[in-house]
Amino acid sequence: MGDMPVMIITGTRKGIGEHLAHHYLGKGFVVVGCSRGGSSIDNEYYKHFSLDVSNEKEVSNMLSYVRNNYSRLDVLINNAGIASMNHSLLTPIHTAERILSTNVIGSFLLMRESVKLMLPHKYGRIINFTTFAVPFKLEGEAVYAASKAAVESLTEVLSREYARYGITVNAVAPPAIKTDLIKGVPRQKMESLLNRQSIHRYGTVEDVSNVIDFYIQPESDMVTGQIVYLGGV
């Protein structure tokens, strides 16, 4: 296990995160995953933590486990995120706080703590998740879009802060995919969304792992601070 590259993926219980965990376990990574609940993945190279990504102590403990057991961290994929699709006048403040806390503070915290492990090796790859709701300025997703706009800012600023350490920071916006995140969105709205994308069809989780494969390959060491919107905006 000593020579295997190590990756942290947040939000691995279902959807894109679960796919990514299986995808990179298949490519020879040790995957450390986390979600609020238990694990759905059974693999000897997979270790699961049940935690809240915005809880500093819980995140530090997970990183401490990685340090003590593997002494390295090659890739961080900040996939965990929550959305609430609602008019701003119908959005309780607690919901707004929860979205910002998970999406912004969670991503920031994971990056800050992960870089401490990457820095001594002068190598690291960080992938954040954003959404086409940012460039499309989607009505009904004000707080979600604002939280992801913040993630895009973090991606761009931290790509500069970490460049000297050989660490790249990039982001990917998945296309419309049939996951839990959009199950409450009316069909008509989804169709009008698909029509705004350059490519008018649903994407797949493989489209997302394809972009991440590109970001994390060693040859991509000049690629940083970039955001790919799948489907085209």
């Binding site: 500093e56 530090s60 403990n61 401490s64 340090r67 003590n68 401490k116 820095l119 001594p120 000297r164």
Partner: protein, 98 residues
């Protein structure tokens, strides 16, 4: 405990190749960061990462040095080797007692 922490700070300084001149009898007074300090902000980042990692490895304790308390204190704990050792000791004591 304090001398153990001081030893970790010195080892971390050595690791980040800071070239800080240490005075044998007055190691605690060695300035680190701030008005009299020799480290720049990037050195400080490297030093913090190195110290946190060593405390985890050697003392089996998970610590975050750049916390609210450290950043809001009038007298920064990163001013000197002695103030930093004391600060780390305080955090560890607080954790043990609390």
């Amino acid at each position: 405990m304090n001398s153990e922490i001081t030893a970790i700070i010195l080892e971390a300084l050595n690791d980040i190749e800071s070239d800080i001149p240490l005075i044998e009898d007055q190691i605690d007074e060695t300035p680190l960061y701030g008005a009299q300090g020799i480290l720049d902000s990037l050195d400080l980042v490297n030093l913090i990462v190195a110290i946190e990692s060593m405390i985890n490895d050697k003392l089996n304790f998970v610590i975050t040095l750049a916390d609210e308390k450290a950043m809001s204190q009038k007298r920064s704990p990163f001013q000197s080797v002695g103030s930093l050792a004391q600060y780390i000791d305080d955090i560890m004591q607080e954790h043990t007692n609390g």
